[in-house]
Symmetry: C2
Amino acid sequence: MTEKQEKILTAALELFAQEGYKVTSTSKVARQAAVSEGLIFRHFKNKEGLLDAIMKEGEKRAKLLFADIVLETDPKTVILKTLEMGIKTVQNQSESNFWKLQYKIKWELEEYNAHKVEPLLYALVRAFEKLNYPEPEFEANSLMILIDGLAMRYFLDQQFEIDGQIEFLKRKYNL
Amino acid sequence: MTEKQEKILTAALELFAQEGYKVTSTSKVARQAAVSEGLIFRHFKNKEGLLDAIMKEGEKRAKLLFADIVLETDPKTVILKTLEMGIKTVQNQSESNFWKLQYKIKWELEEYNAHKVEPLLYALVRAFEKLNYPEPEFEANSLMILIDGLAMRYFLDQQFEIDGQIEFLKRKYNL
DNA sequence: TATATTTGTAAGTGATTACTCACTATGACA
DNA sequence: TGTCATAGTGAGTAATCACTTACAAATATA
């Protein structure tokens, strides 16, 4: 991975996350990366290849993040870590861009990929089981859906105060 | 409102909701509406004017939908109607396209417009107050966030079974 | 019926798109 | 040192973009 290759990836991640994938031109990516446009196609074949490289890079980081939760045995800690996962990662700039891109891409390309979060979902089901919730599957699903909603508000609503809302949810789940 | 004008609006709503606003070309809208491209600009001035017309038309329908909930006095019915609002409207094709466009536009243009749903939010706060929930504001907000998450899954995840999830939520809220 | 206004079309406009191609610069290894 | 692969550039390409313009058809008004 050369220096310019990384510059292209960083520029593309930022632009795709902020403006959107389809509407961001390769010329704009090249300009922001201070690189000739042709170099993008040399390294990543085409625009889609550039997106793939970004997503693959990001998936690694996501797996690391999920692993910490899935390996947890205490049920309350599983739920707590799941709830706090969002805020913590989102502080970091490039990490934030990656998660924003994940959601933006879902709406742009209309593919949800529920299987990506399956391990996390199962960890939550087990956690709610241990805590004797009557319907652990539905409960886990609801929490995942709630987190999608939280992410949406966090990224799109400037006014939204996510910390207070998450503190409330901790109280609700007796954490 | 001429016949061709309505044809343009219908075609644009469908294409904007399915492909996205920015990436849908005016020539494609014209082709789907079986109309010359120039007519779009005659009637709606520019592409943005076309989007505005669609959104304004849809806001009327949204207000009608919200009014039915906001005017309700029984707190449990307010929560119930809010939960079921989604599924009912989404059955109808053009209504479904309108709601999908609402969400898609949020991500494409990055403007959340929380004030649009303010009346609904306040109705929920009052409902949770009446039911003696300890933190009605947070509770109402959580429900709204949950609904955003539900909508996201409904529109993007083919596998997602929304009815079961909503029945579960009814049980959780003792409805 | 004569005139004015609105509705509609088709063929343009320059700008921008993703991508290619011919070329040069750099560095590793024989 | 000479050769070869990789890294990088900049000027091209046809296609498509939102939008305009000149003109015709249809409709309303006098």
